[in-house]
Homo-oligomer: 326 residues x 2
Amino acid sequence: MTKHPSSDESPVLGIDLGGTKILAAIVDPGGKIVRTAKKKTRAELGGEQILDRIVDVAKEVTQKADLSLDSLAGVGIGAPGQIDFETGTIVYAPNLGWKNVALVKHLREALGLPVALDNDVNAVAVAEHRWGAAKGIDDFIAISVGTGVGSGLFIGGKLHHGFNGTAGEIGHMIIDRDGPPWPASNRGCLEAMASRTAIAQRLEKAMAKGKKTILTEIAGTKASDIRSKVLRQALEAKDRLVTKEINRASRILGKMIGSVINLLGPEMIVLGGGVMEACGDHMLPIIDHVARETAISSSADHVKIVVSKLGDDAGILGAAALVGDG
Amino acid sequence: MTKHPSSDESPVLGIDLGGTKILAAIVDPGGKIVRTAKKKTRAELGGEQILDRIVDVAKEVTQKADLSLDSLAGVGIGAPGQIDFETGTIVYAPNLGWKNVALVKHLREALGLPVALDNDVNAVAVAEHRWGAAKGIDDFIAISVGTGVGSGLFIGGKLHHGFNGTAGEIGHMIIDRDGPPWPASNRGCLEAMASRTAIAQRLEKAMAKGKKTILTEIAGTKASDIRSKVLRQALEAKDRLVTKEINRASRILGKMIGSVINLLGPEMIVLGGGVMEACGDHMLPIIDHVARETAISSSADHVKIVVSKLGDDAGILGAAALVGDG
């Protein structure tokens, strides 16, 4: 195999593969984004076409940065869905329409570079460890609160994949056994109670019952239109309904985080994702308070709970950080 | 320091330190108990006296086995309470009346042997890994269901202590945020809903309300008299009230175990402790079913959920297994 430059010295290519768009960036060894490029995923075109689009955007961003593929240390890709780490295959990714796609092999052959693959939430944890809030921290949990809720676990300085490569599914943990049902998951799971989707659905219901809120003006009455930035606007306008729902979700997140602290005893919790990015300054004090109340005292006294500083770049930095990690 | 024989070749001394009794055993390298000895803890006598009693029972069992202390590879001790692993100190153990007791230093000086200390639930996990159900399994959780509920986590072939040495507190994780309050822990935590203490308290209340059960004949109406063996007797007699409560606790354990599988992706769950020892054959099918229903499918398909075979000897074997582990 060709020898490639090291990711300690040379830039890498990070690809954040999502159901609606593909983001690519050249990232330097210090974690600075040099250039970016973007394409729509167009999952409806099918698996082969998506692979072509990934390769296209990868070549495009390299060119835009005036680099050749040869000069890169490698490609990191953060992807949704279930991954077989031994073969570098996406076993199942419903929002890409993929089953058993040999993503690593395909990109390695198309780009002639080493390829590192992980799921998007794990990738973010690696970026937090390498360039973010968890630099130098060996035991931490990076939790992403957005459309869904997921997490990446660092244990003893390493990303923890678990026996089947599926560890970190904090969104599918139950926090209220009598809570609401949730598609493809458990009644009262964290995702059913504190994801943006869950918050938006509760707000939609409240509006349908005639509750007053600024949302009707700024976003309408449909759950799908209540994005994280809309929630932030409503918080800033001191909207009572939205504030109540966000506070409720924050307390539930705090209870789950405190519970997980009791199980794992991490040094740090890093909170990211769209909801935290938009509403973190409002939510953090509540999450922090409830988590410490829930955690056993020796953990409550020491654990650090912070909001990620990677912001919108978390996904792409995560993908880039995978290169050279383990 | 004197060179001591290796625990691969020579017997070790295991001490299971509890609030009511101190158990000591000589255990051979294959995990066979050679001799045992026992003393009441008599915590009311105070810290110094307990230390003396530990040393006495250690010497007694060595003598009973016709061995000299010199011939042992070391001493392992499983203790309740919060431990400072760097100094080998019991920081706080309410049921021993201990604060900041330098247990490792004291025993090392009194017995002239290397001393390994961990909490009782972690010690059991080490025994499961060395001699029990989890032999050869690198990622598993040993859960103990008794007076309380606790766990020991193996991750990547090593016991996971967490940042403050307090990992594994599954009993303090919340499974029902609207559940009953629990002393020194969280409303709706696992211990409040599935420990023997919780089960017995619910049975006591039901009896006070006039519910019929065989318990009134075989154990009386006080929660403190409803021991695990009494629960087993009632199950065997097909007592409806006890069966209902045990089934409920089993379902709650299943939901928590499924949740924790989603977070950690272990290969195996080993269930032990007084309740599982007595009622495991009845509870396991329910726990197994609900846990797999709760876990994401790729984990549900692969994880093994078993009842410990170490039985009553788990504590003492756990203590012994600590010698030479890490």
